[in-house]
């Protein structure tokens, strides 16, 4: 649908990049809610709430970003998280089974294997779209979790896991920062370097932009896809770890619907479902924005549907408004040039 004449005129100044736009929005959202709720909506409270909104969906979005950059999509992540969590809970079996860390290792392995299966299907059947493949594996993986766990919930994790990791925090400069938040923040610098500064990262963007041309240029596209799907599976399992530590128990329905949240965050952060675009910094900022917005709405309106409605609006507007602005700009530039011609 992108016409042949792509306007190259852009938003002026610092709002041009999605990252800056997000940063400005975060500040606006913060001050708006803070003025409404000066007591409960504070930086300290927000930091604390980041556990709820930023960590598990965040890890999924980290994995999803890579898949999106490659121009694919994976809607089975939440099911992978569920299956991995199930396997962990069942093998640990409230302390009766394997040692806890072994179970967690197994969990990561399950994430890896699920990702591998997705990757294999996607690379072996180029005719099929990842969306449809992962739609099927989504049902399949969660179905397996259902077979294993049936109607039970499993849990009773060691207390360091559900108390210290799930709800614990570290004092940094006099502020309580949740342990989980530190974990996910630690991932971002490395991820930034990988995606934006290394050769494989560059090739991922290439493959997402034009897979045929990239292949002709010696990019091993199948291998990249494989990497992305496996990484995504492992990240889903990691998200599962943090989610389990918060809920303290696992049911087969755990994390249902998280895939769409992860996709939404990645898109908000500048990724595109058509591939070749995405930003790690943008992703981080989008996570922060989501946290600030969702928490504020939750406190102010306390209504699930209003919350979703606002997220939906935000998602569309953040893409739509710059587009409209661009169109307006390039129209105006051309009109000015035309005017100059007709005068001369």
């Amino acid at each position: 649908m992108t016409g042949a004449q792509k306007p190259t005129g852009r938003i002026p100044g610092f709002l041009r990049r999605r990252e800056w736009l997000l940063a400005v929005l975060i500040v606006i959202v913060y001050f708006v809610f803070n003025s409404q709720l000066p007591e409960s909506y504070t930086v300290v409270n927000l930091l604390n709430q980041s556990r709820v909104y930023m960590v598990d969906v965040g890890f999924m979005a980290v994995g999803m970003l890579m898949v999106l950059i490659l121009g694919d999509i994976d809607i089975s992540v939440a099911s992978i998280a569920a299956l991995a969590s199930t396997v962990m809970a069942v093998t640990y079996n409230a302390g009766q089974g394997l040692p806890f860390l072994v179970s967690v290792g197994l969990m990561l392995l399950v994430g890896l294997v699920c990702g591998l299966i997705n990757g294999l299907l996607v690379t072996r059947f180029h005719e099929l779209f990842p969306m449809i493949i992962t739609l099927a594996t989504q049902t399949l993986y969660r179905g397996i979790a259902y077979i294993i766990l049936k109607d039970q919930s499993a849990g009773s994790f060691p207390s360091w896991f559900s108390k210290d990791l799930g709800y614990g925090s570290v004092r940094i400069l006099g502020v309580e920062v949740p342990l989980m938040l530190i974990c996910i923040l630690a991932v971002f610098p490395l991820y930034y370097l990988w995606i934006h500064r290394t050769a494989p990262g560059r090739r991922m963007f290439a493959a997402g932009t034009n897979i045929t041309a990239s292949r002709y240029s010696g990019v091993r596209t199948d291998r990249l896809k494989m990497t992305a799907f496996v990484f995504n599976g492992v990240m889903a399992a990691v998200a599962g770890i943090f989610l389990c530590s918060r809920t303290g128990s696992v049911k087969y329905t755990i994390a249902a619907g998280f895939e769409m949240q992860a996709i939404a965050v990645a898109i908000l952060g500048g990724a595109s479902t058509s591939g070749g675009r995405g930003s790690v910094v943008g992703l981080l900022l989008a996570l922060v924005l989501m946290t600030a917005l969702k928490n504020g709405l939750m406190l102010l309106y306390n209504d699930a549907f209003i919350l979703n409605l606002s997220i939906g609006l935000m998602l569309i507007l953040i893409v739509l408004v710059p587009n409209l602005w661009n169109m307006y700009r390039s129209m105006r530039t051309l009109r000015r040039q035309r005017l100059a011609i007709s005068k001369s």
Partner: protein, 522 residues
């Protein structure tokens, strides 16, 4: 416009009013003036060639004429009356049909439907499309072009050249008063070109006015009545074809003269680099055997759809051959992917630059460096300055017409895009270069530059396999030429045996050989 443009040849056409006139046309793209006060006129029953360097603005002018782009100044007149081409359908209603430089095909639809898209064959006056009529008329059109393509075939299943033929059929189907062809022969071999020439001449004699854009000077000289030159978006002049020679035309286009078009190839043919034995792939080609030596330029020619592209793609690991063996310097190798091929020292310049060669939204320099990112690592991380340096270097070396190397390639003209692909290929540092139609859509000046590069590389001991449909290219550049006919090698000729007739007769299908001979001499 020079006054002499209006002086005329004997037919008395000067009294004929032009069908189409373009006055003071300007077109801006953000940051660039693609057309600047251009004048142009077209009379009924003439073939008017439009020539110029890559990026001169030819395609842009065409798009302005057909309403794809809106001009920023000036006006268009048809039959002396000003018209506004608000969109391509308006242009079509005025009787203008066009074949664009970059394929405008619908790969998922049948050939017949492609031909009649927006010109649907309906049942009587009703709103419903009649598929029977559509297919029948498509078949007639294709046969008149000497093509055997079945109208029911999916467009996407055809090769680039076959699609080009379908595009031509599409333009012809509109029975337009003005027919515009932007590089119609770029992907065609001699034989298809001849068929096209015949049809174009017939249309001209029926009174159709034709604009022809081609980087093959021979097209201009064999077909055109008049020729107009564009340079940097400005009209340079219009001449009767008899009034100009190739050299003067080139100097009008480039602004300087080019003394040597085909460089002298003096390098010695050395050791064997590549040998192929019994390569075949079901349905595409069979039993292909040949060898390529250091310092050699080996031509691979044949008719459209003969399978040349398929062969080179199999060599480069894009597709997998079913049987056969490839030897590099005598050692058997297996190549599963283009990555393997590059590792083994084989690099490919693909046929379709837009789909296979370029990342259109990316900058020139990032396109060029993609092949060898490892050369731009500093401490494991990519170094931007290093990429810039290489970008600038190649923009200069190949005189790519761009403001900066950071410009996205999608805003470059067709020929300049081709140069970016070539630049990328040159970074590969592979001993074996396979080039599929390397000069497709490239202007004369740059063509000469590309030939020079090829010859220089050969002199440095590279082996070059060049797929080409342009006879002169093969005749003047190659040490040896392979000719393919429906998936098999039909002849291997040495330089001293080269004649156009031999090449053509090896390429033509056995039954059609006689007919082809007539075309050539008729």
């Amino acid at each position: 416009m020079t006054q002499q443009a209006h002086s005329t040849r004997t037919l008395g056409r000067e009294t004929v009013a032009p069908v189409l006139q373009v006055e003071h046309i300007s077109k801006l793209f953000p940051g660039i003036k693609a057309l600047d006060d251009v004048h142009f006129d077209l009379r009924p029953g003439e073939i008017h060639a439009l020539v110029g360097e890559n990026g001169a603005g030819k395609s842009t002018l065409i798009k302005v004429l057909t309403g794809v782009h809106q001009p920023d100044g000036g006006r268009i007149l048809m039959d002396g009356k000003p018209v506004v081409m608000t969109d391509p359908l308006v242009a079509r209603r005025h009787g203008i049909a066009a074949i664009y430089q970059h394929l405008a095909a619908y790969p998922h639809l049948s050939v017949a439907e492609n031909i009649f898209m927006c010109n649907e064959q309906r049942q009587g006056k009703g709103p419903f499309i009649s598929w029977r009529t559509t297919h029948r008329r498509a078949e007639e059109l294709l046969r008149s072009l000497g093509s055997t393509i079945s109208p029911g075939e999916l467009m996407g299943a055809l090769s680039v050249a076959q699609q080009q033929i379908a595009e031509i059929a599409k333009a012809l189907s509109q029975e337009a008063r003005v027919l515009i062809m932007d590089e119609p022969t770029a992907a065609l071999s001699r034989r298809e070109s001849e068929e096209l020439y015949n049809i174009v001449r017939r249309l001209r004699d029926q009174g159709t006015a034709i604009i022809l854009i081609s980087h093959r000077l021979e097209d201009t000289f064999t077909l055109a009545d008049r020729v107009s030159v564009l340079r940097d978006g400005r009209s340079i002049g219009t001449w009767q074809v008899e009034e100009v020679t190739a050299d003067t035309l080139v100097s009008h286009m480039v602004g300087r003269s080019i003394d040597q078009y085909y460089p002298n190839k003096s390098s010695q043919v050395g050791e064997e680099l590549l040998r192929v034995e019994g390569l075949s792939r079901t349905g595409f080609f069979g039993d292909i055997s040949f060898s390529l030596h250091a310092g050699e330029i080996l031509g691979l020619t044949g008719l459209v759809g003969a399978g040349r592209t398929e062969v080179v793609e199999a060599l480069c690991g894009v597709t997998c051959p079913d049987t056969g063996q490839i030897y590099l310097k005598g050692h058997p190798v297996t190549i599963h992917s283009p990555h393997d091929a590059l590792k083994q020292g084989i690099s490919l310049l693909p046929e379709d630059r837009q789909k296979q060669g370029l990342l259109l939204p990316w900058s020139i320099q990032h396109n060029i460096t993609l092949l060898r990112l490892d050369q731009h690592l500093k401490g494991g991380l990519l170094s931007y300055p290093s990429e810039c340096k290489v970008g600038e270097e190649y923009v200069r070396l190949l005189s790519i017409k761009a403001q900066t190397p950071q410009e996205p390639v999608e805003s470059l003209s067709g020929g300049n895009q081709q140069k970016v692909v070539i630049a990328k290929l040159l970074t590969a540092d592979a001993r074996i270069l396979i080039m599929d139609e390397p000069t497709k859509g490239v202007d004369v000046g740059s063509k000469a530059a590309i030939y020079q590069i090829m010859v220089d590389l050969a002199a440095q001991g590279y082996g070059i396999l060049m797929v080409s449909s342009e006879m002169p290219e093969v005749l003047n550049l190659c040490d040896r030429a392979l000719v393919m006919r429906s998936g098999r090698i039909s002849a291997m000729l040495r330089r001293q045996e080269f004649t156009p007739e031999k090449l053509l007769s090896a390429a033509l299908p056995l039954s059609a050989e006689r007919k082809g001979e007539e075309v050539l001499h008729g």
